[in-house]
Each structure stands twice: as C-alpha cells, then as structure tokens.
Symmetry: none
Subunit: 192 residues, 4 copies
DNA sequence: AATGAATGAGATTTCATTCAT
DNA sequence: CATGAATGAAATCTCATTCAT
C-alpha cells in the first residue's frame, strides 16, 4: 500500500477509535506508524487528508452506482443491484459509519464550507444517476409516476434504514439478506 | 429570553452561518452580543453549550413523539400525527439541519464520545416509542408482521428523505403537504 | 465585627480550606456571606485584602514584642515573655500557618514585590527589637558575646521549630509548655 | 543541558527576578528562549514545571542528607556533615530562596493541595532521617534525652537561622564558616 | 451601602504545520 | 524521503474588577 493509503487507513482508525472530535495529526501519524512531518509529504493539510477520505467514499459510491446501473435487465433489476452493492458498501464500512453517521453531511462537517459544497454537488450526481434509473422504472410502468429524484432519495434512505440498523446493532442479521426486503418495501411498503 | 437561551440561539446562528468547523467561543459571544467571559457564567464549557443545543433538539423530539402518539384513533392515525409533527420540526429547523445533517449522530460528532453515547441512548428511546406504535399497527393488522423497531427506523428514514429534500432544496414544495405521501409510501411503497 | 474584619476572617478561612492557590474573590465573598462587589467597598484590590491580613499579623507581632519587652526584670525575663507570647500567637493561628508556612516570606509571596519589601522591612524592625534585648542579655553577661541580631533570629527560629512541630502535629503537647524548653535550648543547647 | 533543564532554570530565574506572583508561561518561555508551546512538549502543565523544580530541591536535599549521614564517625560528626552540606545548599540557592522563603511549605504554596501534601510527606522523610542520627547521638550520650524528631527539627531551624541571615544579607560572612557555630549552638546554646 | 451580572484582559493550553537535520 | 522538535497563532477558559440597579 502506498504511504498515502496507509495514512488514510490510519485516519479511518482514528475516527473509529477516538471519534471525530479527536482527530489530530499526532494521532494519525502514530496510528500510521510514521512521523507527523511525513503526513505532510503526502497531503498538503489535515483537511486534505479528510477530504481524500471523503472522496474515496464518494468514488466508491460512484463506481458502485455506475456498475450497478450497467446491470442487464430492467430498471428494477438495476435498482436491485444498486441496493445490494450499497448495503455491502455500508457493511464493509460499518465501523467508521457508526462513528460518523451515515449521511455524507456528517463527513462534510469535518471540512470547510467550500469543500463541503463541492462534496454535496458530487453526491448529488450519484443521486441523479439513481434518479435516471427510477425514471426508467416509471417508463417501464414498474414505479408510479413521481419526480425521479424523489424516488432516488427515498430508496437511498430505505437502504440507510437497514444499513443503520445493522451498523448500530439493532438488527443482527447480515446486510446481504436485506436486499429484497429493501426493494420490496420501496415498491410495496409495509402495509397489509 | 434568558441569557442561556440567547447563547444557544447564537450558537445555532454560528453553526448555520459559519459551519460546524468554525464554532468558537469568540464567534458565539459576538453573535450573542456579549463578552466571551459571559458565556462561561451560563455554561461550564463550550461542549456544554453544544450539548445543551443537542439536548434541546432531543427534548423537542421527545415531546413531539409523546404528544403525537397520544393522538386518539388507531396506530395509523398516531403515526400520521407523528409524521406531520416531525416534518414540521425539520421544517422549523431546516437551516441548522442543512449544516448539521439530519441524523442525530451528526450532532453527536461535536461532542465527546461519552456525551455522544448518552445522546444515542436517548435517541433510541424515541425510536422505541415509535416502535411501540408500529407494534399496535401490526396488532391492528394494518402493518405487516415485522420487528417493530425496524418499522420505526424505516418510517423515520422516509421522513428524513422528504425533510432532507426540502432542506437541501431539492424539492420546493412545503413539507406539510408531504405527510400523506410519506405515510402512503411507508404503507404501500412506490410500486405500481 | 466591621465588614472589613469579616472579609479578612473570610480570607483566612479560604486560605486554610482551599490553600493559597485558590484564593478568589468569589470564594472570599461566599465565605464572608456577602456579594463580590461588596468586597471592593472595603478594599481597593484583592492584594489589598491579603496585605491587610499580613499586616494584621505584623501588627499583632509588633504588639506582642512590644509588650513582652516591657516586662519587668532582666533580659532573660523579657525574652521569656516574648517566647511565651510568640508561641501563643502561633498556637492561636496554627490553622492558617499550617497552610502558609511560618515565615513571613510565605505570605509575602501572595503580594507584589514592592509590598513584600515593605513587609520585610517592618518584620526586620521586630527582629531588631528582640535584638536589643539580646544585647541587654549580653551586657548582663547572661548571653555570650555575639551580634545581637543573630541571637534574635536564632531565638525566633527555635520558637518556629517548636511552633511548627505543634502546627504540623509532630508534637502533641500544648505550645504553652514549651516556653521554658525553648529558652533552655536557646541558652544551653541540647548537648549533654 | 536538556530542554527540560533549560525550562526549569528559566523558571528559577523568573521566580528570582519577577517574584512568585509573576510566573507566567509567557515569561518562562521568554527567559528560556523558546516558544510558549515548547514548554508543553516537556511538561504537561505549568504546575508540572513548578512541581519539578520543587522536587529537584527535595531530591538535592535527600541526597545531601543521605551522603552526610553516611559520614564515618559518631552522630555528632554526621550531624556536622549535614549542617555543612545544608548550609552550602542554601548558599548555592540563596537567590531563589530569598524569594521563595526557606521553608518547603512556601514552595508548596505554588502547587495544588494534593501536590503540596505529597511534598510535605517527602520532606518529612528527610526530617526523620536526621531524627535517626539524633537518636544515635542520644544513645552515644552526646545529646540529651529528647524526641529525636524534635532534635532534628530544631537543628534544621538553627541552620535556617544562619542560612536566612546570609540569604537576607543580615550577615555578610560566608555560610561555610557557620558550620561549627550552628553545631555549637545546637549543643550548647548561646548562654554564658 | 449592597449586589451580582457582565466585562475583557490575560492566562493556560493545543495543535496544524514547518524545517533543519 | 523521513523525521520530530519547535513554532506560534489561535482557542479555551479564568477571574479581578466595575457599575447599573
């Protein structure tokens, strides 16, 4: 792993173990097993490290969405693939999300207003991509007529609900098993 | 308004205008129109101020849930009252939630780990209260058989979806009008 | 008791109970049962209060020395009277001296350099008065030839030794009973 | 000299030149020729610096007592060695003791109550060591029957008397020349 | 006279960042 | 490349003193 990767991993561990309030360059360096000064060979500022971490999540999200939506089949199949991938994503990162909260805004709080805005914009691109698939679903008459963005946000929040339960250990069952449940709820709700 | 209230209002304004990263006692004092030292007549530490703010939101949430669930009628009527009240709550505080994020954990990030834990516990009490009403709904055969907490978390996330869209100005329509939409989605989903 | 006296008594109690490091106007006012502002009707500054306390001790010392040395009889009788009075003085104030240390310099540390110098000068006057009686003792051939100041300082330190033991509870016997012992040691030492 | 040593020396100079009331981290840093922040690389708090200074004096005292009492010969020879060493100790540090006062309690006043208590305990160990030699002197029939601690405290105060006179410049003669005088007074007093 | 809330200067302490080695 | 001691700006917090009531 390159040094910069080691540093970002160390940053994650610091967030998980010490909480957001205690991110110091000292702690990161210690966890990364290198000197404080070394951090600054790979990153311009501490915000730069955090920003890189946030962007790595964003990138993973973007890829995850991109490949999910390239799934063969109709809109529902694509959305199903996205749900599965996203749940896995949260599963993989549950430790850090338990500390940070699941919304990207929680991470944005670590950054300057300008950076936060840029991240929100990028995050919104992801939502829009899901939205386009929702639109397909509407065209396919699988999803009722609604603003596609609305459907996208809704689906993502239902995912968050199930990811969050796992993350906060309300639910014990593996996340994988929830894919169909999430999709069913998205489409049919919980009413009898 | 008591001085402590003025300080908390100033803290809110600082969060909204300067972002979480720029909360300083200097900024709070300036916004509150008093000297830095005065803050410490009313709060022991800066964390104490933030903690008071978070707890005021929690308290409002608790009351909102409490009174909603005392609504006459069946479980669905109660949940409807809760959805309406919760959407209004976010509407009222949309400025600060835009900065802070909607999840309570986002606010906890401003505090020490110990304080955050306490807040999470209190937040979970709220979820449990909703859960009990979901349970009633299941008994009334209005909601399908499921772990009640799961239903509660799900409903809250659907609310977040719509509150968040308003807050981040994705949707322009008033939050009030979304109550029935949220409930309908909770019960019937968005499938055709 | 006049307000100023109440304040000085409160100051003593604060020193005894909280130690020198924790003398705050808040603590003094609380202990005196009055508002902080009231302190400043009777004293110009906090240093003024401390200075008054130190000077009250000095005054008591001066009076004690003055009246002792007016005792009828020879130099030894006068010094005996002084030893007795001084031991009683420490007995009476043992609580505060336990905190402050016995030397006047310990109290001087609470004050500005200028004030401290003035106090030292005044303290030295007391030493000189004892010194004059020592000189008489030398003239009476009761004390060996030596610089009188030296004898005075020596006697005072022997008194401190016995006062200190009582104060720090090394010795349990009353201070009164030590008068003759102090004088005997001053004159004859502890050798066999 | 290590940085921590430089800081302690700077602290001493500040005490000597500015007095106890004016010990600030700013002054210490300036005198030490380093930035304020650097102090905190070597000491956790300002109290920690002061505590280290006090303890360095205690350590010197302990060593001085230890090596004195290992002198060959009877109890009197040992006590003589102690007197000589102790007088030299005060001679060496007379500048700071002039400001601080000679008693260890005067230094304790700069510290929290808890720390002061620990220091007093350690100081008392020194007194006890002298006390044991006094006991030997009693056994050797060189010192009259008395509680050994009493003898120890007495001797130390007689030393203080002579050290103090030098320190406060009452006496001009070197401290070294006072060893025998102190011992003689301890054993025989000043009576004719 | 008495109050005590408010002040604000100043003290302590932290920590991101730099730079000589 | 790597270090980590040093920096110093900035943050938190304290408290003697004032002053409107």
């Amino acid at each position: 792993m390159p040094k910069s990767g080691i540093i970002i991993e160390a940053l994650k561990k610091v967030i998980i173990e010490k909480g957001v309030k205690n991110i110091t360059s000292e702690a990161i360096a210690k966890k990364a097993g290198m000197a404080k000064g070394t951090l600054y060979l790979y990153f311009k500022t501490k915000e730069d490290m955090i920003s890189t971490l946030v962007e790595s999540f964003l990138k993973e999200g973007e890829e995850l969405v991109g490949s999910s939506l390239r799934t063969k089949g109709g809109a529902i199949a694509k959305l199903r693939a996205f749900v599965e991938a996203d749940l896995s994503f949260y599963e993989k990162n549950h430790k850090i999300f338990r500390t940070l909260g699941m919304e990207n805004s929680a991470m944005g709080n670590l950054l300057s207003k300008a950076k936060k805005k840029m991240i929100l914009k990028r995050y919104f691109k992801i939502v829009e991509a899901i939205g386009r698939t929702v639109k397909e679903g509407i065209a396919e008459n699988k999803i009722e007529k609604m603003p596609p963005i609305e459907g996208a946000v809704l689906l993502m929040q239902i995912i968050h609900a199930y990811a969050g339960m796992r993350i906060h250990e309300i639910s014990k069952c593996s996340i994988a098993g929830n894919t169909d449940k999430v999709l069913k709820i998205f489409l049919n709700g919980v009413g009898v």
